[in-house]
Symmetry: C2
Subunit: 184 residues, 2 copies
């Protein structure tokens, strides 16, 4: 009787444990992927630079990312989030090994949420400025400087992609953590 | 022996149930608070309008929120999130009544995360534009139109507050849901 109870317990907990381990492994892979995306974003924006082929005696016409504070925020935030994702791999690996760990998962949900907010905020602020840079705004008399700095604008627009991919990955990570916690 | 086991089970589950109910009630209150904040943000931005006391024959100098697409996005998103928060009160109330409900909590975590992303995105995009409106950008030759439209700028800056409060509330909601799910 006792043995059969233990056996039935094993039968019901084994697929659950397997599913949790599967979720943890996917969590690990998604973190690596998001870290690469945010690193690419930070590098792409941080190295964007264009100098016009002409110059007056007093001016050099040049566009660099630190001309606009939102782009500095974008590069800083993506670097921080990338660093966090790499560090969180330790906790994520711990979750693969110890499927019943609970506190580490709640800590990850909280930190993921904060980082998700940070990266969303940086990507949106940069996207708003990139939009104005492309299309300008006649109501505010803001000139679209992308008409001159084509290469620079291509780089800053492209750098948004990695960041927005990271945003989607974070939503998946939080959802997966929620499911994983509920399976305990 | 059996009775004592049941009793000890009751003793350990009762404070846990009480804690979960407490978290659910706080969840409900925070949702009402965030709904009011996002509604205030949407109204404050949506009704911001200023007309200059002078006009030429062909132009009227006027600033309205739909001059800039990010402000339209801000009003729309805050309205959607406010609507979602009001609707989510039903699920939140259900969680107060049925403390062991699990699927409804995971659904809430997922939807909260998506809405958190939306409201963060809208608040950041609007904040980026408000920053440029206040300080301009000499590198991009963008003129700070707040030097003319003082009242309008006060309104749009103020409207950001409610939205950023909602951002913080969402982080708390997601964390509380995580803790609540783990206590099952």
């Amino acid at each position: 009787m006792k043995i059969s109870a233990i056996e039935s317990g094993e039968v019901s907990s084994s697929p659950r444990k397997g599913m949790k381990r599967g979720l943890s492994i996917m969590d690990f892979i998604l973190r690596v992927f998001a870290a690469v995306c945010t690193l690419a974003s930070a590098l792409s924006m941080g190295t964007a630079k264009e100098t016009m082929p002409f110059a007056t005696r007093f001016f050099r016409f040049r566009a660099v990312f630190h001309d606009l504070p939102m782009f500095v925020f974008f590069v800083t935030t993506n670097s921080i989030v990338c660093g966090y994702l790499v560090l969180s791999l330790v906790l994520s690996f711990f979750n693969i090994v110890r499927t019943i760990a609970m506190k580490s998962r709640i800590l990850l949900v909280f930190l993921d949420t904060v980082m998700f907010g940070l990266v969303t905020s940086a990507a949106s602020a940069a996207a708003a400025i990139v939009y104005v840079a492309h299309y300008g705004n006649p109501n505010a008399n803001w000139f679209p400087f992308c008409q001159q700095y084509n290469y620079f604008c291509g780089r800053i627009s492209g750098s948004l992609i990695g960041s927005f991919i990271a945003v989607v990955v974070f939503i998946m990570l939080i959802l997966m953590s929620g499911i994983s916690i509920s399976r305990n």
